[in-house]
């Protein structure tokens, strides 16, 4: 290996690269990465959504770790510690508000990411596993949301959790047992905080990190999915840009703007806005009557409302159970889309599944809106 030209002064990045390369032989990796490209077309903008979700997740991790410095789980201390953070700790209001806003935005962007992937049929071969891991991440994200919501131990979250965990009761055989395991007992108590806290700061982060590492590995290895109508196009006609540094800079720019939006929301709407509201309010008291309106977080609202519409009994099945079966089956179909949509594997459009997707989006949107209107 020839040494560098001593007359040329090496820049800092170059010196760092030489330091790493002589120890870890990163030459191959860097070479591989420098050839990665991103397709440019009418729908390229959707490519940013995955990264945006990741960015919001990183905000969650950062603010979450900071909150951990002062939060204390337990029926006697949870509420008081959150009140302490928001009123006494320097910038505590900011950290908490960022955490709440980022959580909601992350789920929203994750849904957008999922639907854009769906409608561009990017789940087709060879990316089935990316779709599965992605769905797992969405589920884990919603579990994060559900478990985190209880932690302030205020009226709002106590009753929402009570209703939410009560629903598993409808499952035959395992229902009661599952509810007990979820709640840490028969009722929602300090024991529930303990479980949800362990889930929220240890179990879910560990699993999430593993799954997202795999998800990102797949994306890096396979590159971005090309649009279906590029099928058959000659390579020279496919417009692309390099991932490093072109696409990455654009990604970073978007992340910077997203941070600004987050900061604006956190300062101007620290307790949320409209129906997406999380004021600290009063401490949870199991003995007071529930407030007139108990609502879950907005991303559960569609399921909540759909269940409300179900009659007590459908045929011979209990209404709630029917709802669980309905959503279970629906979720399963959605999950298995890569295998059900045979056309996509042949790089052909699938109007049937596209319409199915439209139906699903419409159902979710309508049910969510109804959920708030009919309160």
């Amino acid at each position: 290996m020839q040494g560098p030209d001593p007359r040329k002064k090496q820049s800092l990045p170059q010196r760092l690269y030489r330091w790493a390369d002589t120890r870890f032989s990163i030459g191959d990796l860097v070479d591989y990465m420098s050839h990665k490209t991103v397709p440019i077309h009418g729908h390229s903008i959707f490519y940013y959504l995955g990264g945006l979700t990741l960015f919001l997740f990183l905000i969650q991790v950062g603010t979450g770790i900071l909150l951990l410095m002062y939060y204390r789980p337990g029926a006697d201390s949870a509420y008081e510690s959150v009140r302490f953070i928001v009123s006494e700790v320097s910038f505590g209001w900011l950290i908490r508000s960022l955490h709440s806003w980022s959580a909601n935005l992350m789920i929203f962007v994750a849904f957008l990411h999922m639907f854009t992937v769906f409608f561009t049929q990017a789940y087709r071969k060879p990316r089935e596993m990316t779709w599965f891991t992605g769905m797992a991440l969405l589920g884990l994200g919603m579990a994060f949301g559900f478990s985190g919501y209880l932690l302030p131990w205020n009226e709002l979250s106590f009753f929402a959790t009570r209703v939410g965990t009560g629903m598993v009761h409808a499952l035959p055989f395992v229902g009661d047992y599952l509810m007990q395991v979820l709640r840490g007992g028969d009722e929602v108590t300090g024991a529930t905080i303990g479980r949800f806290f362990g889930l929220h700061v240890a179990i879910l982060p560990a699993v999430f990190t593993l799954v997202i590492a795999v998800h990102l590995l797949f994306v890096q290895r396979q590159g971005m999915s090309e649009p279906i109508d590029w099928e058959g196009k000659p390579q020279g006609e496919k417009k692309t840009i390099k991932f490093f540094p072109n696409f990455l800079y654009r990604d970073l720019l978007l992340w910077l703007l997203a941070l600004n939006v987050l900061a604006l929301l956190a300062v101007f709407f620290p307790d949320g806005i409209g129906v997406v509201h999380w004021p600290l309010g009063q401490k949870a008291d199991p003995f007071t009557p529930p407030p007139p309106v108990i609502r879950p977080e907005w991303y559960f609202m569609f399921a909540f409302q759909a269940l409300k519409f179900l009659p007590a009994h459908l045929l011979f099945i209990e209404g709630e159970l029917f709802g669980i079966i309905f959503f279970g089956l629906g979720g399963l179909i959605w999950l298995m889309i890569p295998f059900l949509d045979k056309n996509s594997n042949l790089n052909r459009r699938s109007p049937v599944f596209m319409w199915f997707g439209v139906l699903v989006v419409a159902f979710i949107v309508v049910m969510t809106i109804l959920g708030y209107l009919l309160e």
Binding site: L66, M69, Y70, D76, E80, F84, E88, S90, I95
Partner: protein
């Protein structure tokens, strides 16, 4: 060699400088956050009183009020040396009660309501007893908590 400050280098330097300022504006709140505030721990449903038995003994009224969450409480040193704590909010019209060592009673000045040292309303307008608290002494510290049934 002519030193031409190319636009490219200027841009890179500009980004670097602003980047540092940006990083500082992110780190500043984080660092301030991590410094613990003066008020220390969050008050839970157990409170350590900011005074001890000695202060109560020295007090001519043999009693002190204290903050318990959103409530006001009163702790009394009885003639037998026992410490008793109850809510200090009169159940009639929310005035603050006081301890009367001459009567060994808690007295509300507003309408002459009287409670015994267990909080039971014994005379005057108050309709309900005062809520009782549990008192624990650990060394020279006094801890007050909600009484569990």
């Amino acid at each position: 060699m002519e030193r031409i400050v190319s636009r490219r280098t200027f841009l890179d330097r500009f980004i670097a400088v602003i980047g540092v300022a940006f990083a500082a504006s992110v780190l500043y709140p984080i660092v301030k956050y991590l410094i613990p505030p003066k008020s220390g721990e969050a008050a839970a449903s157990q409170v350590k009183l900011p005074f001890g038995r000695a202060e109560l003994e020295a007090d001519p009224r043999k009693s002190r009020t204290f903050r318990f969450g959103r409530q006001l409480g009163i702790i009394v040193l009885t003639s037998s040396g026992e410490l008793k704590a109850v809510s200090a909010v009169c159940t009639h019209l929310d005035c603050t009660v006081q301890y009367r060592p001459d009567m060994s009673l808690l007295w509300c000045a507003c309408h002459n309501g009287k409670y015994d040292l267990n909080g039971k309303n014994v005379s005057g307008p108050p309709p309900r007893p005062l809520e009782r608290f549990a008192v624990n002494e650990v060394g020279s510290d006094i801890f007050v908590s909600k009484e569990t049934a």
